[in-house]
């Protein structure tokens, strides 16, 4: 009964989304306040029905209702309740329902938080969100309903959740990532609404900015969580694989980062408007493309669920309508957009343009590397894959250029700076970065190579240019020290996010250079030394979990000859589907991780064991967290609310 209610609620939510997609849009076009006014209640109703539907599915999981096909194939009564609940998005159908729920959530958030928007603008934004929701609800209803039943012969027991997904990572990674993906739909809706109304101005950018920042922050967090999850759960200690699905999330992030910066220019200076709109369209289109790549089954990866050509075709059609339609609108409307001011060659605008070009070029290279194999396959020219060296070869130089421009951009002024003034600002941070970078390189155990050294110098460059900027801001104040804590929240947001870049780069550079790993054949009593650590394989134990049997290795770790800790890597056999899973043992630290994973049992008492020493690996995710924090701080700056109220007054006057 409850699954049917869920299905019914989903159908009702389709009605709501169709109404939401059209009524306010027509109202806005005809200046009909009543029709515009339907936008908010419809958004709330849409969210209510989708939420109800989602809760019905969650209940089916919680109560082990294996007559529902989706539950039967993704859950098992032996699973603890929190994994049963997160199993809701452990497969294709449920993860789409989560996608929808989050979309409806963003829609209702816009509806609630848009008191400062003019009525017609709000109506148009919500209508665009409604249209997107319509597409996806149709997709769920027609190709991937999670509520289909196995009746009358229902299985007694579920097939179990993929053991890889029985993890904390599944609870947090998909919702955060989807919050980011889908969050760009708000920026997209604002862009389309602005194009429709012809009001592409600073006020539009100001409304759009907090939403974009917060979506970007979620996406950053989602990607960082995914990377962390892969690191500890896949068992091999890698943190980024250039897997097509990872790329699918990186592309909207790169364009989204460009968008965040370009919106700043549009708001402050009234230039780059049509470019900003284009970026907003691209950011969301790439999110849709990511969904297509992951959900259509054209890719084979850890993320791809069962493939079904209908689904692929449906999403491709959605993609074509969304991208084609918005670009067509753009082509008609964007030519009327005029810049409100100009800027000099040496100015912050130029540097942000450089930032945008570098980010979009990076995105294009990822796109090429990801789609090229698919294209060649579709043309019947053979099967191939593009290896990580391709991405590394392009990303390293582009990333370093981006870091240079980041430092310069922080210190040059809007509109126009003289070359002399710029040099006067930049020489000190430059020298300090060179000195600090050189010291960092010297303090490393051995010379890490040119690229890594440049990366370290540039990380310091970001830090020192940021400090210089802060110094410029506070030195004229009566109490300079106090002023450090009195900057705007958006400013701290920028500082944190940029510091995050520096931290991330340090992590990536050092873990890629100084990681040590070896695959060993170890018998009880065997030892292996890495730097100051020594690993002693003591024995194997048998341990039973709730739904698995485990072979647990006991590995004594010595630090400089003294006992330091004991690590317990596991090899688990999940009984429901006879899956074997590696659970790595990790001793985390700010400056190094120790990582031990079991391979397979060899003859006798010997086991294949992988031992790794990963310096600074935590810095990668720490950088991601700092960026996330920066995005959230910037998005919650009270300035937006105050200014929005003023804009509103100005527009209605």
């Amino acid at each position: 009964m409850i699954p049917e209610l869920g299905q019914y609620a989903l159908i009702l939510s389709l009605c709501m989304s169709v109404l939401l997609g059209f009524v306010p849009l027509i109202g806005a076009a005809r200046n009909n306040a009543l029709w515009c006014g339907f936008a908010r209640p419809l958004a709330v109703a849409l969210f209510g029905f989708v939420l109800f539907s989602f809760l019905c599915l969650a209940w089916a999981f919680y109560s082990n209702d294996f007559s529902v096909a989706y539950v039967a194939s993704n859950s098992n009564s032996a699973l603890p309740w929190y994994f049963r609940l997160s199993a809701v998005w452990g497969g294709h159908e449920g993860s789409l329902l989560l996608w929808l729920l989050i979309l409806a959530g963003w829609t209702v958030a816009v509806a609630i938080k848009s008191d400062n928007l003019p009525d017609d603008m709000r109506a148009r934004v919500l209508a665009v969100m409604g249209l997107i929701a319509t597409g996806f609800i149709l997709f769920v209803l027609f190709t991937s309903s999670p509520f289909e039943r196995y009746l009358p012969q229902m299985p007694q027991e579920g097939a179990d959740l993929n053991p890889l997904l029985q993890d904390f990572g599944l609870i947090v990674h998909p919702p955060m990532l989807y919050m980011g993906y889908v969050g760009f739909s708000v920026a997209f809706a604002f862009a389309i609404a602005a194009l429709l109304s012809g009001r592409l101005d600073a006020a539009w950018a100001r409304w759009s900015r907090p939403w974009t920042n917060i979506a970007w922050a979620f996406l950053t967090l989602g990607i960082a969580l995914g990377s962390w999850w892969a690191y500890y759960e896949l068992g091999w200690g890698g943190w980024w694989f250039w897997d097509p699905v990872e790329n699918a999330s990186l592309m909207p992030w790169l364009v989204g980062t460009a968008l965040v910066h370009s919106l700043a220019v549009t708001e402050k200076r009234g230039v780059f408007k049509s470019w900003t709109v284009l970026l907003a369209i691209f950011a969301f289109s790439l999110s849709l493309l990511g969904t297509f790549l992951v959900r259509s089954g054209v890719l084979t990866s850890v993320h791809a669920f069962a493939s079904d050509p209908d689904r692929g075709f449906f999403i491709l059609a959605l993609l074509a309508i969304a991208i084609g339609g918005s670009l067509l609108l753009y082509a008609f409307k964007a030519s009327h957009v005029k810049s409100e001011s100009s800027f000099g060659f040496v100015s912050r605008e130029t540097l942000l343009l450089v930032n945008n070009v570098l980010l979009t070029v990076s995105c294009a290279t990822v796109l090429l590397g990801t789609l090229y194999p698919l294209l060649i396959d579709a043309l019947g020219l053979g099967k191939l894959s593009v290896g990580p060296p391709y991405f590394n070869a392009l990303f390293v130089p582009l990333g370093l250029l981006l870091m240079i421009s980041l430092g310069v951009g922080t210190l040059v002024r809007w509109k126009q700076t003289s070359g002399a003034l710029m040099l006067q600002q930049l020489w000190l941070p430059g020298v300090l970065a060179l000195v600090a970078g050189a010291l960092s390189v010297v303090s490393l155990p051995e010379f890490p190579g040119v690229w890594v050294s440049v990366g370290l110098v540039l990380a310091w460059w970001i830090v020192f240019t940021g400090l210089r900027d802060l110094f410029n801001r506070v030195r004229a104040k009566s109490s300079p020290f106090g002023a450090v804590f009195k900057q705007s929240r958006a400013y701290y947001g920028m500082m944190f996010a940029h510091a995050g870049v520096a931290v991330l780069v340090v992590g990536v550079a050092l873990v890629s250079t100084f990681s040590e790993h070896s695959d060993l054949r170890m018998e009880p009593g065997d030892r292996k030394a890495f730097n100051d650590y020594e690993f002693v394989f003591e024995r194997m134990d048998k341990v039973d979990g709730p739904n698995f049997h485990s072979d647990t290795g006991v590995i004594q770790v010595l630090y400089k000859g003294k006992p330091y800790t004991t690590m317990y890597p596991e090899k688990r056999l999940y009984t429901a589907r006879n899956n074997v899973m590696t659970e790595a043992a990790i001793d985390p630290g700010l400056f190094r991780d120790l990582y031990v994973a079991l391979g397979e049992s060899l003859d006798g008492d010997a086991w294949a064991i992988r031992v790794q020493y990963k310096p600074f690996v935590r810095w990668i995710w720490l950088g991601g967290l700092l960026m996330t924090l920066g995005g959230i701080l910037a998005a919650t700056d009270p300035r937006y609310r105050k200014q929005a109220r003023r804009d509103m007054a100005a527009q209605s006057a």
Binding site: T300, Y390, R521, A608
Partner: protein, 153 residues
């Protein structure tokens, strides 16, 4: 040329230059890093190049996996039920590596016709068959299950 046009020209030149460099680098990097897939039949008949990084995939032949006694060296054979190729690998095999399972290996073919793998991939799903392997088997007309679609579910 008035200053505004001049500035635009600079910007356009900058973008054109940037795009040209990016495209050049990209195509170069792409060319260096493409790994083509070859089926066991293609390798056995000499279609695959030696000493070049390629991918090979097939079903692991039952009873073919042989571990060295004192190291992590392992030899096994992969087949598309038409031809068989020996693979050598040193290291830890993935959890889902089993005899009778479809795998994809990345590495180089040496002059003796042995595939020297540097990476062995098996997906985290017990029914999974890599798409390349499924296609190779279909071509050879040796798909072990009702259909490839069924197998990949």
């Amino acid at each position: 040329m008035n200053p505004k046009r001049k500035k635009r020209l600079y910007i356009v030149l900058f973008i054109v230059f940037g795009v040209a460099v990016a495209v050049g680098l990209t195509l170069f990097a792409l060319n260096q890093n493409i790994n083509l897939f070859y089926s066991p039949t293609q390798i056995a008949t000499g279609e695959a190049p030696t000493d070049t990084r390629i991918r090979a995939g097939g079903m692991v032949v039952d009873g073919s996996v042989k571990r060295a006694a004192d190291s992590l060296d392992v030899m096994f054979e992969i087949t598309d039920y038409e031809k068989t190729v020996s693979v050598h690998y040193s290291g830890i095999l993935p959890d889902l590596f089993r005899e009778g399972q479809g795998i994809v290996a990345q590495g180089e073919l040496d002059s003796q016709g042995v595939f020297q793998a540097v990476e062995v991939l098996a997906k985290h799903d017990e029914n999974y068959m890599p798409a390349e392997v499924a296609e190779a088997l279909e071509k050879a007309g040796k798909m072990p299950m009702p259909s490839g679609q069924e197998f990949n579910k």
